[in-house]
């Protein structure tokens, strides 16, 4: 039995649920929006975790879940909590449920996609970059500073640079332009991350266990996720076959970060550099699957039901 955690209508979770059904695998939905009707408890005895999940009048033993897919949305923004003050009983109860789920994920037996703690590496991009580098990937030259003069020098050296958030907060990657140069003094308040812009082909690699799905992203945008806004045209996605050694490095990187499923952002430069920008531990793969037909959800489902020791 597989536990699917998140909002059931959200595309990645819905696709995995469908794939599990096609495989005749039984799944149970932990619907975040129904938090008020759920109870979760777990216990650890001699290093083994067990427990119970109760919802909709049914109770499930946690040890009967041989796999779990956690595609959790930020519970603070659930529609059911709209208008609630930060310390309302509903919010606190909802938070306690999610805390318990995430803490269980770190100690649960079985195929957990992904456990909570290893996902944290994505909360500091330059930290994660240092881990990525150990796996043989190149990285863009990066400067994090609060000194405008250093930014000027960095720009002069690379001619085109971008800036983006340091943390896991989602930000739009932008090219540093004349308007930014006018306000660069503001960085004195808080260091900002700048990177050389690298020409080349964007590639998103989804790794599921030992399986690899690579997608070429064709776009002129600095951040292809916002291609329509930045260049007036959506990115085009095409399946891509990676060289074996590069695919192996992607698998090793994913495992090395303690993940079983990841979305890896690469850029392949004309000079044959293979640059890795970041590893997303909870990739929204449905966009890529819808445009390429790559069976990523099926691979996740097969990973979840595979037998482990």
């Amino acid at each position: 039995m597989i536990l699917l955690c998140g909002i059931p209508s959200e595309p990645p979770l819905a696709l995995v649920r469908e794939a599990l059904a096609e495989l005749n695998a039984c799944s149970v939905a932990f619907n975040q929006r129904c938090f008020a009707d759920m109870r979760l408890s777990f216990e650890i005895a001699a290093g083994i975790a067990g427990g119970e999940l109760s919802m909709n009048g049914a109770t499930f033993r946690l040890q009967d879940f041989t796999g779990a897919y956690l595609r959790i949305m930020d519970d603070r923004f659930l529609p059911e909590l709209k208008g609630q003050p930060p310390d309302s009983p509903a919010r606190l109860s909802c938070r306690a449920l999610h805390d318990t789920l995430l803490q269980w994920s770190d100690v649960a037996h079985g195929n957990i996609v992904n456990r909570c703690s290893p996902m944290a590496s994505n909360s500091s991009k330059p930290f994660q970059a240092q881990l990525i580098r150990r796996h043989g990937f190149d990285m863009p030259e990066t400067l994090i500073t609060n000194d405008p003069d250093l930014v000027d020098d960095f720009l002069a050296r690379h001619h085109r640079i971008i800036y983006k958030s340091i943390s896991g907060v989602r930000s739009i990657v932008r090219t540093f332009d004349k308007d930014d140069a006018q306000r660069v003094d503001l960085i004195r308040w808080c260091p900002v991350q700048f990177q050389e812009f690298i020409e080349g082909e964007n590639v998103r690699v989804h790794v599921v266990g030992s399986r690899v799905f690579a997608t070429r992203v064709v776009s002129e945008a600095t951040d292809y996720r916002y291609a329509h806004e930045q260049v007036g045209q959506a990115a085009q996605l095409q399946p891509l076959s990676l060289p074996d050694d590069m695919a192996e490095r992607c698998v090793e990187l994913t495992a090395g970060l303690g993940l079983s499923f990841a979305g890896i952002d690469l850029k392949l430069s004309p000079e044959n550099r293979c640059i890795c920008f970041e590893v997303n531990p909870s990739p929204g793969f449905s966009y890529f699957e819808a445009h390429t037909g790559q069976p990523i959800a099926r691979a996740v489902a097969e990973y979840l039901i595979q037998v482990t020791d």
Partner: protein
């Protein structure tokens, strides 16, 4: 240069700073989180072959990552006093950015750093009690049965979640490859070292309950223990750990 990073109220850090000085560790500087937060210059560079960290404090003191020989890192959080007048949303964003930045530059230092940062904590991973119990069991330590429910009042301390509150707690310190303090039974030493290893902690405080049967049961662990509990032996172990060879460049 050797460095102790701590918050201004960290009495245990002041104690170890004085202890390390008396043992001849020099030049040794103590830099508080509050001073660090007001730094005049931050310059952190990353590239395929190298990583650098350069900081100029507001009083002109300079910290060059390449010039550091060892760091005792007891930073818990990035002080946000400079941002107290900002909107809550801006403050929350800046806190995440600065924390992510600190995790990276502390990780990038090429010298021994005790403890190295983790995305789960600046001075090493702050793990939930459930995770510590699970890890301790895997490390071979005797652990209590643990239970947690989404129905627990979330403002209660973790100790209330344990089925049997410990009668008396003893703290054992793991510093590098040494175990000091607490006088644990010999059989526990390997388990403590293993727990430090699997949790990635150069320094780890491990709490045990000394039960009526004489057996020590794991209670909890922290990457930021009060090293004074280990006395002179803790300082000796710290000296050894800090003098380890520079690690390979990341």
């Amino acid at each position: 240069m050797w460095l102790v990073l701590c918050h201004s109220g960290d009495v245990a850090a002041l104690w170890l700073y004085n202890g390390l000085r008396q043992r001849g560790l020099k030049p040794l500087q103590l830099v508080s989180a509050e001073v660090l937060a007001c730094s005049r210059l931050w310059e952190h560079r990353l590239a395929a072959g190298h990583t650098t960290v350069d900081i100029t404090l507001h009083d002109g003191r300079a910290i060059h990552g390449d010039g550091l020989r060892g760091v005792v890192n007891r930073l818990v959080a990035v002080p946000m006093d400079l941002w107290r007048r900002a909107s809550p949303a801006d403050r929350a964003y800046v806190l995440q950015e600065l924390t992510a930045f600190y995790v990276s530059w502390l990780m990038a230092l090429p010298c021994p750093v005790l403890n190295r940062p983790s995305p789960l904590g600046l001075a090493g991973a702050w793990r939930h009690q459930s995770h510590w119990v699970w890890l301790a069991a895997r490390a071979g330590l005797r652990t209590p049965d643990y239970i947690q429910s989404s129905q627990n009042p979330i403002d209660r301390p973790g100790a209330l979640r344990r089925r049997s509150p410990p009668p008396k707690v003893k703290t054992v310190l793991v510093i590098g490859d040494r175990v000091v303090g607490g006088q644990p039974p010999g059989a526990l030493l390997a388990g403590c070292l293993e727990l430090a290893r699997v949790s990635g902690s150069g320094i780890l405080g491990v709490d045990f309950a000394d039960g009526p049967d004489g057996e020590w049961t794991f209670v909890g662990a922290t990457p930021l223990p009060d090293l004074r509990l280990g006395g002179e032996a803790a300082l000796d172990a710290l000296m050894i750990a800090l003098h380890r060879e520079r690690r390979e460049s990341l």
